[in-house]
């Protein structure tokens, strides 16, 4: 799946799977860099999603707070 389209949950799940593979002793060193690269890409995706969500949540929360302030005045 392209990282453009992948959902956070799927990205996290794939990342977890890669971690599992890295933890298994018998990973081929030839595959290691490929896996790490994929993991890095997934981490980048997840970070982007978290940042987006954080910005969005902060906006919403700021909006809620200002409304509360108005209504309680």
């Amino acid at each position: 799946m392209s990282t453009q389209e992948i959902g956070y949950a799927d990205a996290l799940s794939e990342l977890q799977q890669i971690l599992g593979e890295l933890e298994a002793e018998d990973i081929d060193i030839d595959v290691l860099a490929v896996k790490v690269e994929r993991a890095a890409e997934l981490i980048r995706v997840c970070r982007g999603r978290i940042n987006d969500a954080e910005v969005r949540v902060k906006e919403i929360v700021a909006g809620m707070d200002s409304e509360e302030g108005e209504s309680s005045e």
């Binding site: 971690l19 890295l22 933890e23 060193i29 993991a39 890095a40 970070r47 707070d65």
Partner: protein, 470 residues
């Protein structure tokens, strides 16, 4: 004794003939002989009247046992209480529980039975009264009635009727225009509440009062009021006797709405008080009670309203607060999630890094180990080859040296055996070989004397001839 057993001496045979006056005189005489000057009679007062002269007249009757009001009594006698006795009698009664003579009252009276000639009437001239009889009779009657009502379950019947929430419609049973009526009405008016009074006017004392009171109670009950008030002002104990009556008690017990009584003074307590839903001591108290009940509910209503308004505000405030909490919790939960997700992700990133580094390190170690093992094993194999070769060499050398030695030894052995067989060795010891014609001589018999013999010894040959044969 007979009225007629002492006939006038002047009379002819047969029944004597009296003038009316003579007869009256004779009756008085007989009565005097028979009852004396004083006697006690007990009965019930009826048709009491007070004359302008100050005298009092009534009938003392033995009521019909069926006790029906207005029925013909079983027996009756007229009683006259003259003014000079009346004051004393009334004083006696007043001193005993505030009683006063009235219709329906049961009394035990003292007096003289006499015949009043002008009226042609037998009557008792009352001189005294036994107040304790009346009191006891009243009390006994009361107790009997209470017992009866209790047995029928009527004492608690009206009390079982629920008191209305707002008793604004009152069925008032009283004597219209009486002080009790005024007191009661004033109290209602002063309350400032909207009362709807259905007034049932009724006499509250006297022998006819009980059925009328009972009817009044029933009538207001039918009129659909919230509550019935039965009120009467104070008076003599015997004035309240109507409220001890059974018919009134039953009317109260059967009333469809609660009955509040306010009968008499503070100390008075009648049967009706026992049967009523609420017994107040005076008419005013009864009104106060009803007003209080209505006001209590009015207050309850206002309190309920205040509480509702307060609760409504509180609910709105609580909802607002709760919403603020929800909003905060939502924000916190979302931020927590993001924080956790971020730290989890960074943990994983770190783990990826660590695992990759661990992996390359461990592979490096593995390959280095291989290199070390390889070197060790190669050198070992070389050393082993050397050792093997050295063993072989030693074996070859050892075996090669052993073989000539063994061969030499065997050869020496063979040589010694050959040496033993060498004839020169035998000759050297002194043995000789004798030949005849080149043949070795072994048997002397093969020779004859003179034969030429050659004898070989160690150092040479000897030639000889056989000289003799033995």
């Amino acid at each position: 004794m007979s009225l007629f057993d002492s006939a006038d001496p002047g009379a002819v045979a047969g029944p004597a003939t009296f003038t009316v006056a003579e007869l009256a005189e004779r009756i008085k005489q007989v009565l005097g002989d028979a009852f004396g000057d004083e006697l006690w009679v007990e009965g019930e007062i009826r048709n009491l009247s007070r004359a302008r002269s100050g005298h009092m007249y009534f009938d003392l009757v033995e009521p019909d046992p069926s006790n029906g009001a207005g029925k013909q009594p079983e027996a009756s006698i007229s009683v006259a209480l003259f003014r000079f006795n009346r004051e004393r009698v009334e004083d006696t009664l007043r001193r005993h529980g505030g009683m006063a003579m009235e219709d329906g009252m049961k009394v035990r009276i003292q007096g003289k039975l006499d015949f009043w000639p002008p009226g042609g009437r037998l009557q008792i001239y009352m001189s005294g009264i036994d107040p304790n009889f009346t009191l006891g009779e009243l009390e006994a009657e009361r107790l009997r009635l209470l017992e009866k009502l209790r047995d029928e379950g009527l004492l608690a019947k009206n009390q079982a009727v629920p008191f209305p929430v707002a008793p604004l419609s009152i069925g008032l049973v009283t004597s219209q225009g009486s002080a009790a009526h005024h007191d009661f009405h004033n109290e209602l008016e002063n309350s400032g509440l909207a009362w709807d009074v259905v007034l049932a006017d009724t006499p509250v004392q006297g022998v006819d009062a009980p059925p009328l009171i009972a009817a009044a109670i029933a009538a207001v009950g039918r009129a659909g009021v919230d509550v019935i008030a039965v009120v009467r002002g104070g008076g003599a104990r015997t004035d309240l006797v109507a409220f001890d009556s059974e018919v009134v008690a039953r009317a109260v017990a059967d009333a469809p709405v609660p009955v509040v009584t306010g009968v008499g003074h503070e100390i008075d307590r009648t049967i009706i008080d026992e049967v009523a839903h609420e017994a107040q001591k005076t008419p005013t108290a009864a009104a106060v009670f009803i007003v209080g009940a209505a006001r209590a509910h009015l207050e309850a209503t206002e309190l309920a309203w205040e509480a509702i308004a307060e609760w409504a505000q509180r609910i709105a405030n609580d909802a607002d607060r709760r919403l603020a909490t929800v909003s905060q919790t939502t924000a916190r939960a979302a931020e927590g999630h993001l924080h956790r997700a971020s730290s989890r992700l960074e943990g994983r990133a770190g783990r990826v890094r660590d695992l990759a580094e661990t992996r390359t390190r461990s592979e490096t170690r593995k390959v280095d180990d291989c290199a070390g093992t390889m070197r060790h094993r190669a050198l070992s194999a070389i050393a082993e080859g050397r050792r093997t070769l050295e063993q072989k060499k030693s074996g070859v050398a050892g075996q090669a040296m052993r073989t000539p030695r063994a061969a030499a030894k065997e050869l020496a052995n063979l040589e010694s055996r050959v040496r033993l067989l060498d004839p020169r060795k035998i000759l050297a010891r002194g043995w000789s070989i004798t030949r005849h014609s080149g043949k070795v001589v072994r048997d002397p018999a093969a020779l004859a004397a003179g034969d030429e013999l050659v004898t070989t010894v160690a150092e040479g040959e000897l030639h000889s001839t056989v000289s003799e044969r033995q």
